[in-house]
Amino acid sequence: MFTDFFYTLKNFGVPVTFNEWQTLLDALEAGMAGSSLTGFYYLSRALLIKTEAHYDRFDMAFANYFGGIETPEGLPDKIWEWLDKELPQIEITDEMRRNHHQLDLEEMKRMLAERLAEQMEEHHGGNRWVGTGGTSPFGHSGYHPGGIRVGGQSRNQSAVKVAGMRRFQEFRTDETLGVRQFQVALRKLRQFTTRLDGARTELDLDATVNKTCDNAGRLELIWERPRENGIKVLLLMDAGGSMLSYSRLCNQLFTAVNRSNHFKDLKVFYFHNCIYDWLYHSSACVQNDYTDTEYVLRTYSPDYRVLLVGDASMAPYELLKVGGVIDWDLYNDKPGIDWLRQIRQHFEYSVWLNPVRRDYWDWMEGSYTLKTIASVFPMHEMTIDGLEQAIKGLKTKQAVQAI
């Protein structure tokens, strides 16, 4: 019956599966939503949403689908008490449906206010006063198409209003967040070495005990190959002037990468706007403290995962021309783009993280070079979602997608 809602959720990017939907329908059948929208809101959220990161999307989808349904607040307590009684369902006939023309919300609110002023006693059934059952537009468990539900299970706020408040916005994973979140995301970047090769150096205690017991007490030692993270990371960061505005974000990422002690090896280099013949050792890009890019390409094995961080925006000549390097006392024989292509070619896994929001990529200054670079490296924006995608890309070989 709410099948549309299912698709609305999907459209808003909530990953709902059919099984969960089925559970929701079962729960509704069992009357667990308490025949109110608020009940339905909490029930469906508990059943369909599995991470607080999706609460906001759910709220938006819910408000979108059920928008326009409201209940007034601030009713006298006594009326709440009268309404707090459940009634059996009533049969709805076509005639009843015809008798009730749709009232508009404003008019109904006005009528409700009038009736509240007049009504002095408890009321159940009937068609005028605020009460349970019956066909008055006001009250609950009764029938009136488009009436105002007053009372029943949801006393405090209409579900649409709760959803409309979007209290969980801050948990969206496409927001940029702190060091810890980066760390959690980076933790996914691991790949254990197989137990198929390497020396058996680790004593497998459980197997040893079991084997020894099997032998009725004659000691037999079982050795196992240790498993460890085999991922090696090469982090290349842009330290150019245009990156200054993102320094906080980049610092958080840098701290997170540094704190992640689960990599087999971590090497960090810096570059100024684009990579040329030199990779600097410090973020100041001091000109006598560098390693040749050629050397890096020669010595680092292709299984290093390369994470490039930069805004990828510069003057086109910096990227495409011989001698385009921005430091005016330097000269490059090979255009920057060739170096980038070479890095992409040499290392099997590489991604580019861009601190600039994806919305701006099309029209920001430097969007030309950004697009050129994005045609070489898969580019993701530097948010938790983006980082997670990037990390997926570092675990599996990823094709460059046009943006």
Binding site: M32, Y42, K50, T51, F168, V209, N210, G241, S247
Partner: protein, 292 residues
């Protein structure tokens, strides 16, 4: 929900929000595990205790550590004891059953009355851990090959699982759970919670302390925000220290109870002394090129 025989209503020493209570009741009615996430100090672990108290059931806690294996929750076969007995003891070694020790999950299955089972901090364990429990939590039964026995739950326990989101849990596992995120309580909710712990607190002190507390939480760039338990400790300290309520906002006494990281104290001081324009000064040094 009136026809349900068991419905959780909260207990005297634990304030439960309507949303959370709903989620608990949904989980109980649908007989699915309830997965609880939330900031530290929002009472995730306390919830299970409260459910057990309110429904008058026993609580079985399975604390998960990074080394915990799913198998340990079911049963452990004490082969070493058996070996020992076979060589030195008089016990009947051929009776394997006496060497099978049930884990917490097994214990909760065999309980005669319905119990509440708390699987605490499931995200601490290995990535595969939740997947290893799928079948057991779904079917509420498991098989012990050594004794050719099947352990089946006499009464399906109410399963509460908490997570600090250190690791993402596998989708297959999530699909089987009811999920609820405990949001940090707003000032009114917090006032109620505090009253449970400090019933006779000076009103003025409470007001001032709460205001300071929420101001602190809203300071940007604080890494470890103070949580409920820190507020309660802090109030205790204020009372014991006999601090004049009027001084709380200006002086923020015993700040160390609320903020536990040096960086956070620095951040706060920076903010208070209007050095906001120099925020992250250290980071600026890192990237000290001003031209492109």
């Amino acid at each position: 929900m009136s026809k349900k025989s068991v419905a959780y209503k909260g207990s005297s020493n634990y304030i439960v929000a309507d949303e959370l209570r709903n989620a608990v009741n949904i989980a109980i009615a649908l007989q699915k595990p309830l997965l609880i996430k939330g900031e530290p100090g929002t009472g995730k672990t306390m919830l299970a205790q409260s459910i057990a108290d309110s429904l008058d059931m026993d609580l079985i806690i399975w604390n998960i550590k990074s080394t915990t294996k799913a198998q340990e929750g079911l049963y452990v076969y004490d082969t070493v004891q058996r070996l020992y007995d076979s060589q030195f003891g008089e016990a009947n070694v051929s009776d394997i059953k006496q060497y099978i020790k049930l884990g917490k999950l097994g214990e909760s299955f065999l309980a005669d009355e319905q119990v509440v089972l708390l699987i605490d901090e499931i995200d601490k364990a290995d990535l595969e851990f939740p997947n290893d429990l799928l079948w057991e939590l779904d079917q509420m039964s498991f098989y012990i090959p050594e004794t050719k026995e099947t352990i089946k739950a006499k009464k399906r326990p109410i399963v509460i699982i908490t997570s600090n989101a250190e690791k993402e849990l596998p989708d297959a596992f999530l699909r089987r759970c009811i999920f609820h995120y405990i949001a940090f309580p707003d000032p009114e909710g917090m006032e109620q919670i505090v009253k449970v712990h400090h019933p006779s607190l000076d009103k003025r002190l409470m007001e001032q302390a709460m205001e300071t507390f929420y101001t602190l939480r809203n300071v940007p760039n604080i890494q470890k925000k103070p949580s409920t338990s820190e507020l309660i400790d802090w109030l205790q300290a204020l009372v014991v220290g006999g601090i004049n309520p009027n001084r709380i906002k200006q002086e923020m006494p015993f700040l160390g109870v609320l903020l536990k990281k040096n960086e956070d104290l620095d951040t706060l001081l920076n903010q208070l002394h209007g050095k906001a324009q120099n925020r992250g000064g250290q980071q600026v040094n890192n990237l000290n090129r001003y031209y492109r």
